[in-house]
Symmetry: C2
Subunit: 316 residues, 2 copies
């Protein structure tokens, strides 16, 4: 197999991209406890919350209180999603270590989601990036629908290059490529990411996957083969909407970390501690979560533990 | 990305590896109907049943009746699992187009599962293979636990080579490598399959995966990169035991076929027809099944269909 990165950074999105989809209110102190537990597993970056308007995402209306209440472990980056100038001001005031800006690569999704075209969104991000730069807060640029848009299909590589060029022009050096709707396949991921890497060798790209159609771990492998070394995930595969069949969450962090470890790739994450958090999630969110590791345990944990004789004749 | 096979053969295991795990009796005529529907999707090989002792797998005690009742579409191979001489005689009498022999690569699993070592199992298969050869019925050799054994861990490549040499010595040219317990990762799959392919260039290897730890589609990608062009799957991800949390089924055929098609790899399978069968399964087996495609639809189906405004601000 082609050379793979020896180490990968896993960005935990559960408290933001996961919790924002939950209809049942998660008390602020529970959110704080989950973020603290996640930080103690060794995850290097945690997206803690989103500074959106409280009416847009009521679940995250306690963004300031969560940011104020969490421990700040040295070495852990506590990141926040920021949709606009007002959000950036709030995130910086709340001492976010990093802000994650976001736009949709396709106009139709951008219009449906944020009532502006991609070009308008990029222009409106200009003063936001300047503010972050003035205040010394690093920013990453997100590219929703980059690997599949439910309205337009698969954006051509030129469209992604155009957005990255604009982001780079604003001074951003870290860019997240997202398969927002879980539509991407490994050939597409390999193609788009290798083109972006070749065109922008100085940009640090990360990959944001949803496992809607069971291609997410295959897409991780394809991206690793391009040299991508930063991946978003959500503990328990949070992020699907329990009331919307068809919607599916982020790639499950513990399942991804397990695969990376089994492949000999370091993450610095204490997988057992992460699984312990995933195990508590159903009680917190009020519905089952999508976690193979909770259900089956690590590959290496089952060895020797299985009871004799429980397999059926001919089972393969 | 490395060159991938242009066409892949998908072997449907649902009626055997899936149904054998179901506790609730599935009426013979329903089994026949499912096999017939699967054959009409264009699946080239269907493992219809297993000729084991009725007491070992009561669900498949109607093996003869199912084989006698199914349509025989031209071009479709109706295969049966056969554990021993008696099973081979029954399968041949029932006009199986092909028989699938099986053993465990690790002694401890072989002893637990079949009460004999791997070497003993190989010796006992010798007259079985001879019978098939005499009767002109092609046989494939299965290698359970080849990519992970719950007792012994990951068998070394030398052990796999030893088993394949013995199978080849018996005259078999088609061999199925199985990740019986869903423990394998893409690096292991790539390593073991590339060694086997290099050592046995004339053997046609197939891959049998269980998605226990969400590595199955990544393992498909790793195997495609080695040139593997035949994969087992089960419609609806059947094969997990609904009463044993932790047990998980075969890789879901429709999810795998969807990924292959999205990657530009042909299978000859009518995916919509396959999804329609998966959609009926919960009623047949009496519990939900594991099918992303049933839940979310094909990537290309959602394009343009999504209602405007249903995304949340900042969702990525």
């Amino acid at each position: 197999m082609q050379a793979l990165p020896k180490r990968v950074e896993v960005v935990e999105m559960g408290p933001r991209d996961g919790f924002q989809m939950e209809h049942r209110w998660i008390p602020t102190e529970v959110k704080i406890e989950v973020v603290n537990a996640l930080a103690r597993t060794g995850l290097p970056i945690i997206q803690v919350t989103s500074f959106v308007h409280p009416k847009a995402v009521p679940q995250l209306r306690d963004a300031e209180q969560v940011m104020a209440g969490i421990e700040r472990l040295p070495g852990v980056i506590y990141e926040a999603l920021v949709p606009n100038m007002r959000g950036a001001e709030r995130a910086i005031a709340a001492r976010a270590d990093k802000v994650n800006l976001m736009l949709s690569v396709t106009d139709s999704h951008s219009l449906a989601n944020a009532n502006r075209t991609t070009d308008q969104a990029l222009r409106e991000l200009e003063p936001v990036v300047r503010l972050c730069q003035d205040r010394g807060v690093p920013a990453t640029g997100g590219m929703a629908t980059a690997l599949g848009c439910p309205f337009e299909g698969f954006p051509p590589a030129e469209r992604l290059i155009w957005v990255v060029e604009r982001y780079v022009g604003l001074g951003l050096g870290e860019i997240g490529v997202a398969d927002t709707a879980g539509m991407a396949n490994p050939v597409l991921v390999h193609d788009r990411l290798s083109r972006l890497r070749d065109r922008f060798p100085d940009v640090h790209f990360s990959l944001h996957l949803h496992d809607t159609r069971r291609m997410a771990t295959a897409n991780v492998l394809a991206a690793l083969q391009v040299g991508i070394d930063r991946f978003d995930g959500a503990v328990g595969g949070l992020g699907g909407c329990p009331y919307a069949p068809g919607a599916t969450g982020n790639i499950t962090t513990e399942d991804m970390v397990h695969m990376l470890h089994e492949m000999g790739i370091e993450t610095g994450v204490d997988l057992d501690a992460l699984i312990a958090i995933a195990r508590r999630l159903p009680e917190i969110v009020g519905h089952p979560v999508e976690s193979c590791l909770v259900r089956a345990g690590k590959s290496r944990d089952v060895i020797g533990r299985r009871k004799q004789g429980q397999d059926k004749v001919g089972a393969a």
